[in-house]
């Protein structure tokens, strides 16, 4: 059975780096691994130094590792094309343009992106699928969608057959798949959520809220990673020392507050790019958390 790993957290906390390092490590251990980014701000291509596409591509130098991007803009475009095609025959150009703009917002983009997210969960060829998910609020809505969206589809199908996203037929084709995806997310033996946070109050508060939200959705298998902890040897510099003093209380308290395991990852001087650096981060991460 394919195992899923989801990296969650606010923008800028290091999800892309940590999910990339994890994927490299899993592949090195012999698991056939797919790394998927759904983050519109992802720089996976920079991290691996190779082009990322909408289809899974092998990573040079790491046998068994594949990377894939869900591009929200491309997802949205193909969704709009599908939904607008039947309208073009029926409505004047201006109305179609109004409808197109209406389908260009973050809401429809999330729905379209989620559509492709589901497809990536149904890849039977992999031992592991690692998701570098989008920032917290976005992720939550994304993950809340399977439940609320399928309800919406059902209601709509019983009514006029219209939703704000377009004709229902462009959505319902895989309603069963959405329900199956939610079940997989809830399965402790199949899915793990890794919350990445900085050792600071608001970042941790937000993570705790996000963690509770997921529990309400029946998702309990959660790990927290405190990222960017100033390494011991650096703590002698006056500036670094001051910064460390601010981090310390959270480093001490989070393991008591968070219901699952908590790992610590250091702040690195270098940008996390290239296989060699990813392997170094992967080793540190392997010491920090056990998957």
């Amino acid at each position: 059975m394919t195992q899923y790993l989801f990296f969650s957290g606010k923008g800028g906390v290091g999800k892309t780096s940590l999910s990339s390092a994890t994927a490299v490590r899993l592949a090195r251990q012999g698991a056939r691994t797919l790394l998927v980014t759904t983050d519109p701000a992802s720089n996976l291509g920079d991290v691996f130094g190779q082009a990322v596409g909408l289809d899974a591509r092998p990573v040079a130098g790491v046998p068994g590792l594949f990377i894939q991007e869900i591009n929200p803009e491309a997802a949205l475009q193909s969704y709009k094309d599908r939904a607008l095609a039947p309208m073009r025959a029926l409505f004047p150009e201006q109305i179609v343009r109004a409808a197109e703009e209406k389908m260009s917002g973050p809401c429809t983009e999330e729905v379209a992106t989620f559509d492709q997210f589901i497809a990536c969960m149904q890849e039977p060829d992999y031992d592991w699928v690692v998701f570098d998910t989008a920032p917290t609020g976005h992720t939550l809505r994304l993950l809340e969608l399977p439940g609320s969206w399928s309800v919406h589809i059902t209601e709509s199908a019983a009514g006029s057959g219209q939703t704000c996203m377009g004709p229902v037929e462009s959505l319902t084709a895989s309603q069963k798949e959405y329900d199956a995806a939610l079940k997989a997310l809830q399965s402790e033996s199949q899915s793990t959520f890794v919350f990445v946070t900085q050792p600071s109050k608001l970042s941790i508060d937000e993570m705790m809220r996000a963690s509770e939200e997921l529990k309400k959705l029946g998702i309990h298998h959660q790990i927290a990673v405190l990222n960017g902890v100033i390494p011991e040897e650096e703590r002698v510099h006056p500036y670094s020392q001051r910064r460390w003093r601010r981090q310390m209380p959270f480093v001490e308290s989070l393991p008591q507050e968070f219901s699952g395991p908590v790992g610590m990852m250091p702040l690195y001087a270098d940008e996390i790019k290239g296989i060699e650096m990813l392997e170094r981060v992967g080793r540190d991460l392997d010491d920090a958390i056990h998957l």
Binding site: P92, P135, T136, G137, E155, C164, D205, H237, Y239, E271
Partner: protein, 300 residues
Amino acid sequence: MPFTYEKLLEELLVPRGGRPRKVFFAGKGGVGKTTLACTAALFAAERGNRTVLVTTDPASHIGEVFGVEVGPALRKIPHTDLWLVRIDPKAALENYQQAVLATVPDDAETQGRVREELNSPCTEEVAVFQHFLDFVLDDAFDVTVFDTAPTGHTVRLLQLAWDYAGELAGKTALSSETAALDGAQLAPRMQAAIQTLQDPGATSMLFVTLPEMTPIAEMERAIADLGRTGIATQAIIVNEVLPEEAATSPLFGKRLAKQMMYIDDLRPRHPAQAFATAPLQDDEILGVALLQQFGDQLIH
């Protein structure tokens, strides 16, 4: 001096020529919009302006920053001229649904069809923006600070809605927003609000980013998109720039050098915008004292 830290111009945050000012902080999640909005609002209030700080984000932490509960009723911060308020998306959605349903024909079939569409996940976004407009149009405060900003998409959506209001008189299910515009006072209100947003004499549109590659790329896309609706960005604020004393640390020194590289690269691309860098603070900016300290470092 290898590094320069530029300050944000005070005139962007206070009324100009006696006109009330609307100040928006735009940018992606995690860049520090809320902190900057709180800092700017307190700054304006302490210079004798009656100021309100508005958030539309249900997960907003402006309450945590000021250490008070924030809800849909105005809440005054003691010993200041600053009020806080949070737009409740659920209440906004309900009001909006009522307003729209009141404007469509009163037969069961039409009402049912529009009601169904109004339950779609996209409606909340529009509803919150509608309520947001109340604050854009309200001149009861000298300064109104928003910790979010409309995107190019949101503005275009509203423009299209009134442009085609006539043509959409048939009221297909895709036009419930338009139905609302047809009816009451919504269209002229919305038009007035967007004119305010387009007027640099009344509005400051300020973008916040971090000195890193992807946040900068995202911001530039968003500025261009908003620009297409006639709303110009007046300033770019690069947040969380390491302080100069970090330069001698082996770890932070390397990081600071990279930040400066991104800033030097970004600046010349935006000659029309004011530019500011906000130094990363040791402490998380919580409470009035730290907000004041940050304001002194950031604003000139």
